[in-house]
């Protein structure tokens, strides 16, 4: 039997979308979603579910979509995932559910991500919410940070009846979902809607509360029965090479916070400025690099280069992001590594010296290891450099709580139940791992909620 092809996703034309920050995928219509869901083989043993870090009932949800039971599909997806409209858009599905789909071998796995985004969007359009009224249990939990780990932990604990308060340092909630991932991938009305669910079920979100600065950790320990720390990993890593002090050199986080959180793309009607030149070099090839490059393009840069020491086949970015970036004219320069940055007498960056690399053996992650080819240095002219080399755990909170045990690289240490060395204080998300994915952070938040609940009922 010939395999029916994936129902294609309608998208904004690349020429048009590089002039705006609107969503690139336009989303499935109900007919398209049903047709895509009907392709599902409804395997006896649904491998897709084993690929999902939060173990969603993928098979049943797809079946409900195929039967046009969108409301039921939505409620079932909400059971294990507080924010399906977001994960449907940003999960690396090719490494998870879709990667495990038996149809993946044919190159045409079910488009699970887009189906889930469809159901969640449908619920939003129809003003449908999962109406849980929790039974109060009298326990109070404080959560530090409002990223995906916190969101999941908060929802789970609230559903169990805890009084949950989230403390967020920034003036908007969502963590990376708000300040990092651009609106053309994750529209902000989607983020706002998903967050409004938390408030609806009674989670108290307190913005502008920097725990360790204006909110005392000691006071939190006194006032709450348990604390969950999910302060993320936003601290930028730099190369520590010559020229990094130059004007025009950004960390990806600065570039993205300016654009996404502070809406610098609307400057000057919004106040925060951004400088983006004509020739932009982005160092790295993960999601963060793709987001930076694609934002730079939208800010009007003529040439945007991804500078990567491996090949894009080894890149950590989602396949869809690389594909979209290529469509948008981002130029991939592979097998090269940065040495130093060059500047003019006014202190502005003018170029970057790169060295060619070759593969020799494999590294710890199992990927081929790039080594520099001596003498192959060359200079590329650029007027903006964006460093997307990864991040390390946020230091602000940690430096205020010296008694909290951490690894040498800054990650918070926890036991098997996600409890830190301070009794009743749990931790999760990127603050533990130093950076992973939205759904891993969520899975982490869910496990921690379970441990916290056990701890509270000890």
């Amino acid at each position: 039997m010939a395999i029916q092809e994936r129902i294609p996703m309608r998208e904004q034309d690349p020429e048009v979308r590089i002039t705006n920050f609107l969503s690139v995928p336009l989303g499935y219509s109900a007919e398209e979603a049903v047709a895509e869901a009907k392709r599902c083989l409804q395997c006896k043993v649904p491998l897709c579910e084993t690929g999902c870090p939060v173990r969603m009932d993928i098979k049943d949800i797809i079946n409900l979509i195929a039967d046009e039971k969108f409301e039921e599909a939505f409620l079932l997806s909400k059971k294990d995932n507080a924010v399906p409209a977001m994960t449907g858009r940003v999960c690396p599905q090719e490494d998870q559910c879709e990667g495990k789909c038996v149809l993946d071998k044919t190159g045409q796995p079910i488009n699970i991500g887009k189906l889930f985004a469809f159901v969640a969007d449908w619920a939003r359009d129809n003003e449908l919410m999962d109406e849980t009224t929790p039974q109060e249990n009298g326990k109070k939990v404080a959560i530090v940070g409002s990223g995906p780990a916190s969101i999941t932990c908060a929802v789970d604990l609230r559903k169990l009846g805890c009084h949950v308060t989230i403390f967020e340092a920034l003036h908007m909630a969502g963590g990376v979902l708000q300040y990092g991932i651009p609106a053309f991938r994750l529209p902000r009305d989607v983020v706002d809607y998903e967050l409004s669910y938390l408030e609806k079920i009674g989670v108290d979100i307190q913005l502008n509360q920097v725990v360790g600065q204006n909110v005392d950790f000691e006071e939190l320990k006194k006032d709450y029965d348990a604390i969950y720390l999910a302060t993320g990993a936003g601290a930028p890593r730099f190369l520590n090479c010559e020229g990094e002090k130059l004007k025009g050199v950004y960390s990806a986080n600065e570039f993205l916070i300016r654009v996404n959180l502070m809406k610098a793309y609307k400057f000057p009607s919004w106040d925060t400025p951004i400088f983006c030149g004509n020739k932009v070099g982005v160092i790295g090839c993960g999601n963060v690099a793709m987001d930076s490059a694609r934002c730079a393009k939208r800010l009007g840069a003529k040439e945007v280069y991804i500078l990567y020491r491996r090949t894009k086949q080894c890149a950590p970015a989602r396949a869809e992001e690389i594909h979209h970036a290529e469509e948008e004219g981002i130029i991939f320069k592979e097998m090269i590594s940065p040495c130093r940055m060059l500047g003019n007498e006014d202190g502005w960056v003018t170029g970057i010296e790169m060295v060619k690399t070759e593969f020799k053996g494999t590294d710890k992650s199992g990927r081929p290891r790039p080594v520099n080819i001596e003498g192959s240095e060359f200079i590329m002219e650029v007027d903006t450099i964006i460093n997307a080399l990864g991040t390390t755990p946020n230091r602000l909170f940690l430096s205020n709580v010296p008694e909290l045990e951490t690894h040498s690289w800054g990650g918070i240490k926890v036991d098997d139940n996600f409890m830190t060395n301070i009794p009743g204080v749990f931790a999760g998300g990127d603050a533990l791992s130093g950076g992973s994915t939205v759904i891993e952070a969520m899975g982490n938040g869910r496990d921690a909620a379970e441990s916290i609940n056990k701890y509270l009922n000890k």
């Binding site: 920034l170 003036h171 502008n208 600065q213 601290a235 002090k245 004007k247 400057f267 000057p268």
Partner: protein, 280 residues
């Protein structure tokens, strides 16, 4: 939380003082902290040194510089800021230093000067000398807004000598360093001047901590915009500072980076002026 302005007065033709309701910030304030202001929902996050905290209010000295500071200047008592966040930063330790000087020549420095002297003087064993310099007589802040009452000794200077000593804070400090033993110098204000001041204290082998103002975005240590280089090591002014050992700061980089958005700032100001013209 409504961050209402409860006082707004001119300090001189360029600077003004505001008191704003911000109870949590006020409660945790220590001298050397700054606050992050967002005036409107589409505004920038701008750092401002806190001059003092009293009850549920904080006081800040603001220079009319670009769009945000000028627009805020058109607001009145009773108007409210969108967000006031903080206190941010890691202030230097308040302890016994011996004979300790705070020198300032600019709005933020003056605020820090007042704040630090007030607390340093309370510590036994400290002899606190405050130096404040202004360009000319008309620029000198009203007496109640100066560190005079907070320090053991107070030296006012003006560039043209129209009142107080003639010269800049650096000239006054140099005289002091010549005359007597100074154990510690703090300073805040104009960045190039702070570089010179740091070089001066080095000559006399006196330790110095100065504010290294840098452009900030989140001010929570997540963007690296405010990075400064201390003895070759990268630090973040928003969480590790903003006060650093002036002898170790890479001043050239600090001065250069502060000008990164000059072009954009001018554009914002122009747009704002156009808008104001349209209103009139």
């Amino acid at each position: 939380m409504k961050h209402t302005i409860t006082r707004k007065e001119d300090l001189n033709a360029a600077d003004y003082v505001i008191d704003v309701i911000a109870p949590k910030v006020a409660k945790k304030f220590r001298p050397g902290n700054f606050a992050v202001l967002i005036t409107r929902s589409n505004g920038e996050r701008i750092p401002m040194s806190i001059e003092k905290a009293e009850g549920d209010k904080i006081t800040m000295y603001i220079k009319r510089l670009g769009k945000t500071s000028r627009e805020l200047d058109t607001w009145n008592v009773g108007d409210a800021l969108y967000k006031v966040i903080g206190p941010m930063g890691t202030p230097p330790p308040l302890k016994k230093y011996g004979t300790v000087v705070f020198a300032s020549d600019l709005v933020c420095g003056h605020a820090e000067n007042n704040a630090m002297c007030r607390e340093l003087k309370k510590i036994e064993g400290n002899h606190v000398i405050s130096i404040q310099s202004f360009p000319t007589k008309e620029d000198v802040y009203p007496e109640k807004e100066r560190a005079k009452k907070d320090a053991d000794e107070y030296i006012l200077a003006t560039g043209d000598g129209s009142v107080g000593r003639k010269g800049h804070m650096i000239d006054v400090l140099q005289e002091l360093l010549e005359e007597r033993k100074i154990d510690m110098v703090f300073a805040g204000g104009d960045i190039p001047a702070l570089q010179k001041l740091s070089e001066l204290t080095k000559k006399y082998n006196v330790p110095v901590m100065t504010t290294v103002r840098q452009i900030m975005v989140d001010a929570t240590g997540m963007c690296g915009s405010c990075r400064v280089f201390i003895d070759g090591e990268q630090k973040l002014a928003c969480i590790d500072g903003p006060m650093f050992d002036g002898h170790k700061v890479d001043w050239e980089a600090a001065i250069s980076r502060l000008a990164m958005f000059k072009g954009k700032e001018a554009e914002a100001m122009e747009c704002y002026n156009e808008k104001m013209k349209a209103v009139v």
